[in-house]
Amino acid sequence: MAASEQTAPDDKSFVIALAGQPNTGKSTVFNRLTGSRQHVGNWPGKTVEQKTGNFRYAGNEYLLVDLPGTYSLTANSLEERISRSYIIEEQPDLVIAMVDASQLERSLYILSELIMLPAPVILALNMMDVAKEQERKIDVNALEKALGIKVVPMSAARNQGVKELQDAIAEMRWGRMQYNPQKPEFKEEFVLLFKDIKKKIAGIIPSSYPADWAAVKLLEGDSEVVKVVKENMQAKEWTKMEETLSHYPDGVLLAAESRYNWIKEISEKVVSLPAGTKVPLRSKFDRAATHPVWGNFIALAIMMGALMAAMVIGMPAASAGMAGISVLSGILSNIMTGMPVWLTAAVIDGLVPGLGMALAMLFFVLAVFLVIAVLEDVGYMARLSYVTDRFMQRLGLQGKAFMPLFMSFCCNVSGVMGTRVIDSGKQRLIAIILAPIIPCAAVWGVTGFISSLFFSSGAVIIVAAMLAAVVLQLVLTSILLRRYVIRSESGGLIMELPPYHKPDWKNVAAYVWVRGKEFLKRAGSLIVLVTMAIWVLSYLPNESIETSYLASLGRLLEPVGGLMGMDWRLIICLMAGFVSKEAALASMAVVLGLGEAASSLTVLLGATVEHASLGAYLMTMISPATALAFIFAMLFSVPCIGTVGAIYSESRSLTWTLGAVLYYTLTSIVAGIIAYHIGLIIF
């Protein structure tokens, strides 16, 4: 440890990695320690979230890195690889192992792996309050002695033990603490084997790999370690090694069993339970929430409530945001009198609507994240995943993807961002791409208006057909993705149902705040940029939509539009849906020559549409078959700018983002054509 030579405080940040199984209170500790000094991003090149934060203690600076919560540190999932390669390659100065005192046996498992890695570890024994409630007594001193490392008992949610944890961190920093970790021991028959393996891999494995650890990982058949050793070893040597290892086909199980035996031995010494309380009583609610029948009703009720809550919070805030645009435009046009016309137009018709859009979506994002944060913090999310899992598996997704996809009905942007609750990178990418298939509130608004206009009582059938089409597209797209593009590690359900907890409002607030900030910084700026670009396309060269480059593009696409029964004007309206779904209606009024002439498309963002006159006019302008085509083309249309921005900021991949845009453009056209021809037959 370099830090042990230090005697006086210095400015160099001391790097601490926070590791632990899911739901042990990592985020809670992270929030208590760093407050608002946190940064959320992705691990380089990955769809896995990375949280870092800073804090000062006793005049020194510390950098805290939140590792993905995982049950073990094998190379099975992206998350596990990220966690362990961070500790091995980046060599943090200290690792805090978060453990749940009320679930000591299972949650110590990760410590049995961490302790084999080179970074020094201290144990944060969290949820002591819960353990106390269960009358579970833990002898902290004995635990410290058995593990040979510092143990800090705490109840992070009650702010107990946080100071002690900081003290322990500082003690480690200045090398004032003993560190003699006891490592899990394997059965005698393995001791010789490991000795033999270690001799053979000496000088072969990277110097950052601890030899003991690498030997166990070879026994487990860990894909990453096996690959490294195989690449660096002479072929003959490797064949011999493979032969040796083949005597232990269930090496993974042997290793896990040894670790758990080690844990059991320790926990039997330090934990005492009141007699006769091995299995906890399950509450009535939990029985119902996980019941194959009642569970669905509870899930449905909670999800409806959640969706409504998100809408109730999001809608008014969003429309207030949009209304703010016209106020701001008014003020700006006063200020900017005398400046060049194009500049005024660029600011008022391009920039301001873009800002308004980003703002309106921000409110939806905040509302949805608030709902998600509460459900997650309370522990219900796992139950929801449990009951929806069977259905979601058919889409090739886990139950965890249900929530974000459902929230997409409110706003696709928040759906895409909500995929953060999915803890597998690949599964998350699939959900990100699938989310825009769900029609958001605005799409329902536009398509609902047109279908009730043209098909009056038949509109119910249209809506049913739309829902069926959405399910069909979800299934087809997910099959396409999984078969040809993302081979997911999915597999069936193996999931912990964590104990319920009271919501911690600080956690909830931190979660919502950090996400909101992230959205503005990444997706928000993209929304503004693209809106500006669309403004340019629809404003130049003649300062009018009808003669703009965008209109020329519409005319260029007329042959395609013809297949859907649409002329260039309706094509522009579809393209306007790319700006925002609401803009599709507003642009109809303009390009059909009904509303006032508009200088650009983006100016329509804040426009109000007079439904009655637009409706009457539309009826005379287009046929029912074309209307049907428009509805379905809209339903399957390209995600709006906001969603595209979110896809990019969440996937961190231009290829995926453009791929999705292209894919949904195609499906939109195909759906439009099919609907038109069906319409021709029916009407």
Binding site: Q103, R287, G492
Partner: protein, 74 residues
């Protein structure tokens, strides 16, 4: 030996053997399923995932997954 799906809610047993691929075994063993561990079945309807209590925690297991875990009743 029978698989864990044969146990009714409230019954306890001991895990004897886990079959299946390495990645499957690695996943379940991290959640606490290893040889010789005692567990209690919490919920087992004729369809849908099971709920098992072991090593201080409640684990949900898909039926397909559960078939691969062989146990002995006690």
């Amino acid at each position: 030996m029978e698989s864990i799906t044969a146990l009714k809610a409230g019954e306890t047993g001991i895990v004897e053997r886990i079959t299946g691929g390495r990645s499957f075994i690695s996943r379940v063993s991290a959640m606490g399923f290893t040889g010789n561990v005692e567990f209690t079945m919490l919920q087992n309807f004729s369809r849908g995932p099971l709920l098992v209590f072991l090593r201080d925690s409640q684990i949900a297991l898909g039926r397909g997954e559960a078939e691969k875990i062989k146990v002995r009743r006690i």
